[in-house]
Amino acid sequence: MTAVAADERVASGGALGRVLKRPEVGALVAAIAVFVFFAVATDTFATASGASTWLRSASTIGIMAVAVALLMIGGEFDLSAGAMTGFTGLAVGVMTTQWGLNIWAAMLVSLVLALAVGFLNGLLVMRTGLPSFIVTLGTFFVLQGIDLAAVKAIIGQVAIQGMANVPFYSQPHAVFGSAATVAGGRIYASVFWWILVTAVATWVLLKTRVGNWIFAVGGAQTSARQVGVPVARTKIGLFMTSAGAGWLVGMLLLFTTSTVQSNTGVGQEFIYIICAVVGGCLLTGGYGSAVGAALGALIYGMTNQGIVYAGWDNNWLKAFLGVMLLGAVLLNEAVRRRAERSR
């Protein structure tokens, strides 16, 4: 006897139940709640120009959050992800403004550097068996030191200057730094990149073999190894992905603001992790979604800007943020539990 739709051991359910079971459902509800809250509480938040700012601030964080979420699903952390965004931008800045390298060539070199660091992270984690939390913390410190000391030694100051005067600047600027006007609001290139990255990551996670491996290495590494999943390759690939995302964000920052500084991205690594967790990723690995992480970043971006729109005392920013974060995650959890009960 094969199980048919009407198995007496299944109480009820259906397509809706299946949707409600996805890890990102809670984050979606929380995002809507935050949106509605600020849309009602402030005048500007829900306008096109308002949306433009919170979308923008969510976008770069969102890209990183998605990459970090993949890594977290794969059971690892990357604390060097934040510093990487500064590192790649600074590398391009130094190579073009100081050494006169062609801007596209500089971007390529920067990408190669980033991927090399990612590869090294992965290799160290897999070879030594040390927790990635520690290994990437080491890389983070080293990158931070390079960002500061090497850049200072080369250009004499701690921020890239005169980027806009570099030959062919307008070409990558068009790709990474431009903005399109949609319904009266300026939508930056980073927002489109964010959507693209989220879509690709979702597809890889759910529809490809590699996605299956990512869930497996994060959920039960030994078991995955035993059934023949190439654990090391998968994890190293994930570290390289997060480094690559760091490069992308570095370029977006560099060409949107035409500068990066030594401390760019320092401390952001935890915001990425927070966004991923708010979006339903398990810290222990093996569970989560890219869309969820993107929604987590959206919640973060909306909260951050919404507080400004609401004109609340800015010194309380962090406190509001904390309460909002807790609120969002609690709502998230409540929705997920409910969904599981009534699946």
Partner: protein, 275 residues
Amino acid sequence: MSALIEVDGIGKRYGNIIALADVSTSVHPGEVTCVLGDNGAGKSTFIKILSGAHAHSDGRLVVDGEERHFSSPREALNLGIATVYQDLAVVPLMPVWRNFFLGSEPTKRFGRLDTGLMKKTTKSELAAMGIDLRDVDQPIGTLSGGERQCVAIARAVYFGARVLILDEPTAALGVKQSGVVLRYIARARDRGLGVVFITHNPHHAYPVGDRFMLLRRGRSMGDHPKSEITLPELTALMAGGAELEALSHELAAELGQDSAVAQELSSEVSELKTK
């Protein structure tokens, strides 16, 4: 026919713990090699070496005439060695169908997973084992112990190419499912696969086995072809004759003479003695 796998004086240490020492046997195509032994005798350790999950510390492992030192199960899998581990090697949070195909996912164009095929196959392979799942989308961690065991077996049988290794596959199974598994083993043997079958139950081992290797405290107590050993001998060997006898007396006293276990034990002991 030449041996698929040959082990010669193989041994394994964990730190200073010697889990296995000086074990030799061989796996031939179309034959079932049973590994029997007490708890902690080193059976799982032995098959973990064959399947590449642990590298051996001593001795030689020869596959297809070539000496090997597996550093990952992938290498063994690539040589056509599929394994059901005692701890099942499943990823609890992943759906049943993803677990079933993990590591050997079928894809369509552009590397897209063939999810339709995967779900269908999972469902039908499990149904063939008498496991009728409500939903292959359920995380495998929510299945019962026996259901999980069946998924692991079905997977290994489905992907088993030349050698099939099973570590206590029937332990968590009911009478019916155990029968199904024994049938699978017999079929795999008939298709020319070499099978390594680990079990505590000599009644399960004897009918399907061609040779029987006994482990005791990490050492081999002999490697017997079926022609040289009887079921009672096997049972007695496993538990140790004298201890078995004492136990059967005790059980008879406590459970009554009609107790099946006591009877079983005493009959085996007596058979052993008459030899």
